[in-house]
Symmetry: C2
Subunit: 515 residues, 2 copies
């Protein structure tokens, strides 16, 4: 437990802040995860899908994948019937796919507030914030290394964002906390400042175990063994390398029945071929091997078919975002995941821009829209991502989070009942009339259209009188207001004490390390 | 012909400018119109489509549509078998749909450069710039009334924009030219400053006739009578009113075999019901009546099923853009158009933002992506739209035009041949390697990924050293460079003289009017 978190928490619970929050009458409503009532968009033909599936099996059997520095993993593969040669694992045709069959097609991730539970898989879409950036940016302070205070602010913003279903994981790297201890502070923040579901640590197997143990304190140990309370991010070191740290974390989570995203990490042209088909083939081979391995660790362990995909600017080597090729790969990966009957993770608020400007928004919208239509079930990085993932942006966090409302309303599909047909309204108004005051409009207008909580719809003159603010300026105001309005969700003081004690004990157990 | 246009044209043809342009070695390449190799996205079930089609016929038969101040139109409807009561036309069930059957499913719009011809319909998508704003904006000059000089700049930018197939029409209103003469200057600019296809005037039937006559000068009168050389925008005054000026222009164009977009103009909740189904029903009824009427004017006249759709902010009454409900309506309208076998027009670079900022880009990307997937065949407003259509933005024009490249690459779909499968590359690189230097990458990287001509992919430090520019600032530079690099496409001097004479004669024929 950190002093910052404590004082923040206690301060917010205090009389003055509580009264202030009450007066402001802020809604803390969180939308239910998206249950799609629209089709998925599919770009690959049956022929293309079969080619990819055949070629992926060839890769696994003939080329194989590497599990370096992990004798236990090699033994598991050997026992399962794979051909192990040094760190190389060659998997006979059909074996990986067969092993994947014990992975569930969907699972419930429990939150400490059961109303915030999410069901991952099927036609659902769960939205979680940006993950991983070492820097933060806001208009007032510019770009700087992220701190635990920044981290806590992002957790609060995620908690208060209506269209976010998940608190995420490393919303930014708290670089002011020792590397070997920051996972404790991050988990503590997710557990105490929010009541939405969250992710565990993957940077060391021991930190994954700490995550499981802290969940034992929060949820009760029996509950954790019987239910999934974390979804954590296991990246594959593409091409086709499963490093021992990530695999160690996966082993801990799988053995404890906790969910993992098994995710190739692809910058196309660098970590995979420059073609859509080639990339999809490698992605499928990697996911087959990774998910098969998760099931070797524990049959039935919940997992997600992941695909982090960007293209590359071949001149500079910079990753590029919101591009059509990344969309093709994601659409195709969604099809492959559905054919395996597995939940799918991809897309996000990806952009290469340094600022939350038009470039950032074009790239992000391209990816968010594609993510919805490609059938993504778990979208990490759904808001706040900036500068190729180097920066968590406060303004972009609330800008993107607002746009996530568009996805919710798109996913609802079209109502076709008599009220929706509106023939009475058309009769009432007739040629040359207008619908603003008619009975159907009065009865339906409140829920008819998605409405932004952020964007500007004012007349030009009013907008100018108000300071001619751009989107970033509006977002700065919104960030400040949300943090000011924040109220901590209720939590059992006994559990907080137990978490405090756990964190203090684990921090005392080893010296600080910033490596 | 205006002095501005002349001096601009002659100036650019002069020695210094020509040499400057040659040195800069700019590519004037224009991409072919999009031929989709991806599916359309459809949100309506067969049941929903049938309900809409049934209800639209009920509207036409029971409620009817208005053709005010247009005795000739009423006579045409009477002769066709409709029930005419005052200005109200009630159309017996099935009649409008039957009349629509003579409209072609696709047509070629000819450009003076045959390489720029476009085929409108089928799986194609033709992209045309913003249409109609009375204001322009750029970073240097702010927001101001548009002039003919602005108009000419936009025509030049459209000509030089690789992903734009069409020069459009009223890219902004040249408010410094009399209302009754500006159509001549606008057409002259499209004809002489560009060689891409363009639109005709619709603000008076006589101006439509001027448009046809000027095309007679440019293409030859016989050619015009035998071919379509303009696609013009006929808005329906929703709900269900076909005003005499627009219908008069439609009559001229249809009788001269020139194409028109028949387009309901819908701000949902004001000009149509607040529901998706209700709006689609009204849109279909209006389009059925409008296209049927075009075929009464001339069987076989080329037309487009149009749908300009936005939602509304019910608090302020402001139209809102890039919203999920507008997307549902557009997806549905595309389905309805395809069931009628007609080309479809909708979507665009719509946004409500006052600035080319993140809001503008979110809203625009939502609409552009949806437009591609909804099967739009002709996208007006594909770039440059700002502030709800009040402003043509120079910076946003080039920003959006760059993003249109994303649509081109998305529409290509996925290659599945052996080269695309890239198995040799995967074998060559193997686990733990990288693809940057492999043979497959070397052979394919140039065409593998869409590449922005505008967006920033630089490392942070370089970007900062270069002035930490946002997208608008990069776009300002691009606008200036494009206008500087502009070279007029070759045109027969005899034709230019004849156009000059035509414009001079028509301008002399009536006094200036600014009403």
């Amino acid at each position: 437990m950190t002093d910052t978190a404590t004082s923040g928490r206690r301060g917010r619970g205090g009389g003055g802040a509580a009264r202030r929050a009450e007066r402001s009458a802020v809604s803390f409503e969180t939308a239910k995860y998206i249950e799609r009532n629209i089709p998925n968009f599919e770009v690959l033909t049956e022929e293309a899908l079969e080619i990819i599936e055949t070629n992926a099996e060839i890769i696994l059997e003939e080329i194989g994948v590497n599990f370096p520095d992990n004798p236990a993993a090699l033994q598991r593969w050997r026992d399962a019937g794979a051909d192990v040669d040094g760190e190389r694992v060659r998997i006979p045709k059909g074996l990986a796919r067969e092993l994947c069959k014990t992975a569930p097609s969907e699972y419930t991730q429990h939150a400490r507030n059961p109303e915030r539970n999410v069901v991952v898989g099927g036609r659902n879409l769960v939205l979680a914030p940006v993950y991983g950036p070492p820097f933060v940016r806001d208009a007032a302070g510019g770009r700087r290394y992220a701190t635990l205070a920044d981290f806590q602010k992002f957790v609060k913003l995620a908690y208060m964002s209506k269209w976010l279903h998940h608190s995420g994981g490393t919303v930014c790297e708290p670089t002011d906390v020792p590397v070997n201890k920051r996972h404790l502070d991050m988990l503590y923040a997710h557990m105490t400042l929010s009541d939405k579901p969250f992710m565990g640590s993957v940077t060391e197997p021991s930190r994954a175990q700490d995550s499981v143990d802290m969940c034992g304190v929060l949820f009760g140990e029996d509950f954790v063994q019987q239910n999934t309370v974390m979804t954590s991010l296991i990246n594959i070191n593409s091409p086709m390398t499963f490093d021992d740290v990530m695999m160690g974390a996966l082993e801990v989570y799988a053995q404890n029945n906790q969910a993992c995203i098994i995710s190739p990490f692809i910058v196309g042209g660098a970590m995979a071929p420059v073609s859509v088909m080639g990339t999809l083939t490698q992605v499928l081979a990697e996911v087959l091997a990774g998910i098969a391995y998760s099931q070797l660790c524990r049959k039935g362990a919940p997992v997600i078919f992941g695909a982090f995909v960007t293209s590359i600017d071949m001149n500079s080597g910079a990753p590029t975002f919101g591009t059509p090729e990344a969309s093709h790969i994601t659409y195709g990966a969604g099809q492959l995941a559905r054919r395996m009957g597995l939940p799918f993770r991809s897309a996000g608020s990806f952009c290469g821009s340094k600022l939350p400007d038009a470039q950032a928004a074009y790239e992000t919208s391209n990816s968010l829209n594609m993510g919805l239509l490609s059938g993504v079930n778990f979208m990490l990085h759904a808001c706040g991502w900036l500068e190729g993932g180097l920066v968590s942006s406060f303004e972009k966090f609330v800008m993107d989070a607002d746009q996530l409302g568009v996805l919710h309303h798109l996913a609802r599909g079209v109502q076709i009942d008599e009220n929706a047909q509106a023939m009475d309204a058309i009769r009432e108004v007739g040629p040359g009339g207008h619908y603003l005051g008619c009975a159907h409009t009065q009865a339906n207008f409140k829920s008819a259209f998605w409405k932004s909580d952020l964007l500007d719809y004012k007349p030009y003159e009013t907008w100018q009188d108000d300071g001619a603010r751009d989107t970033q300026a509006l977002a700065s105001i919104r960030v400040e207001k949300m943090l000011n309005d924040y109220q901590q969700p209720a939590i059992d003081p006994g559990i907080v004490e137990a978490l405090d004690a756990f964190v203090a004990k684990r921090k005392a157990a080893e010296p600080d390390s910033f490596m």
